[in-house]
Symmetry: C3
Subunit: 295 residues, 3 copies
Amino acid sequence: MATLWTRGIQVCRSFSRLCTTPTVQRGTAVRLMSTENDNLQVDVDSKTGVATMKMCRPPVNSLNLEYLTSISIALEKLENEKCRGLILTSGVPKIFCAGLDILEMYQPDVERLQVFWRSLQDVWLRLYGSKMATIAAINGHSPAGGCLLALCCDYRIMAPNYTIGLNETQLGIVAPFWFKDTICGVVGEREAEHALTLGIMYSTEEALDIKAIDKVVPQEEVYTAAQEKMKQYLKIPEVARQLSKDMMRRENVEKLRLRREDDVANFKNFAVRDSVQKSLGMYLEMLKKKSQQKK
Amino acid sequence: MATLWTRGIQVCRSFSRLCTTPTVQRGTAVRLMSTENDNLQVDVDSKTGVATMKMCRPPVNSLNLEYLTSISIALEKLENEKCRGLILTSGVPKIFCAGLDILEMYQPDVERLQVFWRSLQDVWLRLYGSKMATIAAINGHSPAGGCLLALCCDYRIMAPNYTIGLNETQLGIVAPFWFKDTICGVVGEREAEHALTLGIMYSTEEALDIKAIDKVVPQEEVYTAAQEKMKQYLKIPEVARQLSKDMMRRENVEKLRLRREDDVANFKNFAVRDSVQKSLGMYLEMLKKKSQQKK
Amino acid sequence: MATLWTRGIQVCRSFSRLCTTPTVQRGTAVRLMSTENDNLQVDVDSKTGVATMKMCRPPVNSLNLEYLTSISIALEKLENEKCRGLILTSGVPKIFCAGLDILEMYQPDVERLQVFWRSLQDVWLRLYGSKMATIAAINGHSPAGGCLLALCCDYRIMAPNYTIGLNETQLGIVAPFWFKDTICGVVGEREAEHALTLGIMYSTEEALDIKAIDKVVPQEEVYTAAQEKMKQYLKIPEVARQLSKDMMRRENVEKLRLRREDDVANFKNFAVRDSVQKSLGMYLEMLKKKSQQKK
């Protein structure tokens, strides 16, 4: 995975001209929401009202400002179009999503850094607070922000032999309170503390054991298993399901809404610390070395 | 179970003249608190101070206004009599309690609808907030409000081959926040969200697996197992046990106390929605058809 | 264990001249912080920055005012010295820590009673809120306050064939809200309620099953397993680990800080109740009898 990350870093700036006005179309059986670089494929099955959002930003679906903005806009459109369900998955081999693009945080432009963080907040508010039934079809590794995307969903199905976890502390950074609220809501306080303080990357099997994920199926069945589970959600009267989900999550959503700018300021002040920049620098250096050793 | 529900609907108005002044008597070894229709049998063992409340309202112990009122009054009396423990069980074959009487919510008289909801709040406040040690001897199916009664208890023992769950969303309605708080306190946030959004009915074995219940014993041993567990509670100095329970539950109890009328208004406004009435109507229709097919 | 407790009571006043100015020294490979009676051995490995605090107050490491004060001061010093980790263990055979010295609560001097309670609050605030990575190496029985010390740590490793639990209700007393918050954070609300209301003492195996502890290893490997786990914590960049832990625990810490004097008053008023004094008296009497029977 180190190699993949490194390659991610090498190329991640090259996708900066992402389409920022993705469109979601419905009406025929299946239509495609295509983006300029096809790095976020959104298909809506107009018969079921279920969207599939496939992250296709090689090498590791890392989340930079432009990509987060694309995801956020796509989520907003799906919500506006009254889609009933969303399956989130990856089109990149062996990677679900590697999380935040570290180059957004390393030696950053402070203005962009804050816009970047707000775009991440937006994605969380839209995905965690979605009215849609959301299922993560985790078909690859899923560290940090990738894990967060999965934890935001209503249900998580994962293929074997991958890893998942909020490993921020391993990089010397800290998951914000809304990451913490999200993981606490899935695995409970004890496991969340253990996971966050140690930045643990769990194997698929370990993740199932602590209930960070709900189901394990073979790689080739992850997407169909997600579709199967989605049928169960679709059978439930829409308003009742939405209100029940909202009842569970509203408090956490409101908390971030109320503290957004404080959270941006906290992140900015933390990220620009010498010690954090040093940590990130060392991490990038390590990845580069590992990558070179491999060549 | 569908058949049972239907039969419940067919007969449920016939018990409306329930005794509203049940009396709990103590002094001899075992005395009976009898109600006019014997549909709520309350026995108190005067040696141990343990009451048994047996729901005997065929066919499915459905909770209409009068029955909720009877339960509430009985709970109040037991509390006033300083009973130390309560075993809640059913005298109806294969049904613990089928939950709220849907006819209270379908095409309702709006005044009665609000009184009905307050009576449910009363039962919850008294059972969930009881000073008594409370054990549910779940000897039959336990959907919706029946599941809630069980979750309010301190301990749950269930017979195999039944089902239990807060399946409100399946009927197009939504469990109120205090149902949610109750189930969160038992199975945690993650399982509660899954259970509530999908309205899952768990088998006995599945319920044990997610810790919605504490123990499974054969049907014929459910009540004696409850008595056995009760002995463990009775060994604990009374005040210390009560204060410890109160410490765990006070916050949730206070929350409902503070928001009772808002909660009544929310329920009323939701229940009279066209979409909800339509859902309930379709559900009733489905039950009737299933019942007729069976005849 | 009853015998041990009794012996604890017989001797517990004899350690009252505890050193109140323990010193922590670093610089060489391993230095000892010795107290007057050597009943609290604190060693700091200057290479790793990991301290080991060994409770050596025979017969049962019971927590009286002086001992709590020693622990509190030692924790403060370790924190000030920027120790990175703490392993908490026992030097007394078969006992991790038997909890609060009951003689502090039985027929108490009311002034001292309140100072005693504040010293317990201090230990909790320092241990639960510690910036250090803390691991309990539970090499003996751990009832009541002993269990609390273990639950305050970041990780718990326990030897087989011992017992652990917040058994306060069995003695007729009640764990305060911050004990409750601590155990809820480890085992969740449901298990916490069951544990607290019944004052359950769990076997090592049961404790693992409800996740009150994290790992079971043979008696002779408990300490080395703690050292091994500590290495995992030490690999995490310090500030990120500390901030993540603080994020999980700050709310509970703040709650006690805000309510300290209320909590002292509550405890005092409860402890001096006739019924509580009677319970404690009966408990002490029972221990004495058991002890005499054994002789």
